[in-house]
């Protein structure tokens, strides 16, 4: 039944996309995020859906789009450099088979992220992409939110549509992404033109935001809690009545504690006692290993280089009350092939210093560019551009939340995040072109132009 639904649904989407070829790009984004082929049992499983859709999207762009509006930016060029660099590092990887496997999806994410900004040449296209990303993620967020509210969940046990730990379906990743898109949900509810901001849209946006906030509770991923804290801090910046906001936030936070499942509170408590926590101790040990590894391999070890690590670390022995019994009596733990659990160390260990620098330039550069745009458009203060500064700030906040969340999760190449980057790049070049078109010209020049025509 589900299979037939998805086949019919995709057919409908593609039918509409044949009318407007840009929509093929959005269908590709949908397939990449929701992965309907994994939700179905047969039919879609056997077709290379992404490949077909990507080919259609490129074809649509080549045939029907006006290429005069295409522009690129320095960060776009960096994406291409990162793609080429990762491609090269894969050929000399220390773990060739595993590296090849990761490369097989990384290149797709990077190529799509480089392709997407070329198409984002109208405001509506940028908004359509934002809406598609939010609605696709909502397929997971709504189910996760409702299950958590009904008392389900648990670390590694909250099942979002399918029992699968890849893509957005992994607990820590969906926790980070769910919080990162909250600023976008708010922007769509205030400045959307596809769904005009009436009470229904606002109510749905509020409910979706609430569900997104519940995801870290349901998955019990500690990263999610850190992301919520960052979101709260970022919101202070935009609030006019800061005191009221702080008081309100504190009250809501306090009121929420009794409703949180005790398993969640217990797990969040471990953020404080990270020394006695095995998962945290391994991370620190892996990070140390990575740092030593790149001293000898400054260009990294290629994708999945962590597989060669063998780490040994001590865990303080705690008594039944959870107190450290002292440094003398320590439990030694030996571990092998531990993943990085941090995007920064993932980049460092796999792509070395050059890879980490390019990655940082792309991501931190996004925070900086969005800040520039938000300031510029607040100053311009034109009524037809009222949507720009809030969108730039929303994309900046999403990026900051991702950058903080990825301190503890290895999601350096998460395709969803690269779609956000693509949206930043598209917005940036779109605005540059529009500014140019609207640029003030002296009356004399205007008259001369008018006389020529």
């Amino acid at each position: 039944m589900r299979d037939l639904f998805f086949v019919g649904y995709l057919g409908l989407l593609m039918l509409m996309a044949f009318k407007r070829p840009f929509l093929f790009t959005l269908v590709y984004a949908y397939i990449d995020i929701v992965a309907p082929q994994r939700l179905s049992y047969f039919l879609l499983n056997s077709i290379p859906l992404s490949l077909i859709l990507f080919a259609l999207a490129v074809l649509g762009f080549l045939i029907s789009d006006d290429k005069r509006d295409v522009r690129v930016s320095p960060r776009w060029a960096l994406l291409i450099v990162l793609l080429a660099y990762c491609g090269y590092s894969t050929t000399v990887a220390l773990e060739p088979v595993a590296a090849q496997e990761k490369w097989s999806w990384v290149w797709k994410a990077l190529v799509f992220a480089a392709f997407l900004p070329l198409l984002l040449k109208t405001r509506l296209r940028i908004e359509a992409l934002a809406l598609t990303l939010v609605l696709c993620a909502s397929a997971l967020i709504v189910t996760g939110g409702i299950k958590t509210a009904l008392g389900g969940g648990g670390y590694g046990s909250l099942v979002l549509l399918i029992d699968d730990n890849s893509g957005l379906y992994e607990g820590s990743i969906i926790s980070c992404v769910a919080i990162a898109i909250i600023p976008l949900i708010v922007w769509l509810a205030q400045h959307g033109t596809i769904f005009k901001p009436d009470w229904k849209v606002k109510a749905y946006a509020a409910a979706l935001t609430f569900a997104a906030l519940l995801i870290p509770v349901g998955t019990q991923a500690r990263t999610g809690l850190v992301c919520i804290a960052v979101l709260a801090l970022l919101a202070i910046r935009q609030t006019k009545r800061r005191f009221l906001y702080l008081t309100g936030a504190a009250l809501v936070g306090l009121a929420a504690i009794p409703f949180l499942p005790s398993a969640f509170s217990d797990r969040m408590e471990t953020i404080k006692d990270y020394k006695a926590d095995e998962s945290a101790a391994t991370r620190v040990a892996v990070w140390k290993w990575t740092w030593e590894f790149v001293q000898e391999h400054p260009f990294g070890g290629g994708f999945d280089a962590y597989r060669i690590n063998k780490i040994r670390y001590d865990l303080p022995v705690v008594d039944e009350n959870g107190f450290d019994t002292g440094a003398v009596d320590r439990k030694e733990i030996v571990d092998q092939g531990r993943a990085y659990h941090s995007s920064y160390f993932e980049m460092l260990g796999e792509q070395g210093f050059p890879g980490l620098i390019i990655w940082l330039l792309i991501h931190v550069g996004g925070v900086w560019r969005m800040e520039m745009l938000a300031r510029m458009y607040k100053k311009r203060n034109r009524p037809d551009e009222g949507w720009v500064a809030p969108l730039a700030t929303a994309l900046q906040n999403a990026q900051i939340i991702y950058l903080v969340g990825s301190l503890f999760v290895g999601i350096a190449f998460q395709p969803f995040v690269y779609m956000l980057i693509a949206m930043q790049l598209g917005l940036d070049t779109y605005l540059a072109r529009r500014r140019n078109e609207a640029a003030w010209t002296p009356i004399r020049k205007q008259r001369m132009r008018a006389a020529q025509t």
Binding site: K19, D66, L135, C136, K147, I194, D384, E437, A438
Partner: protein, 57 residues
Amino acid sequence: MIDNLSILLSHGLLLLAFWLLTRRDDLDSEPPPPPDAEPQGFAVRRPRASKEQPGDA
């Protein structure tokens, strides 16, 4: 049950959004923006911009 509700809700809204998009002309191209009333950005500080007064032709 909850899964199906979530799939229906998100997919229904996405389908509706697609349908609304096919009816919008500004998806593929939009009219040029109204010109700036006064110089913006770097143009403000550019000395040439101030020299180009109607009198110096």
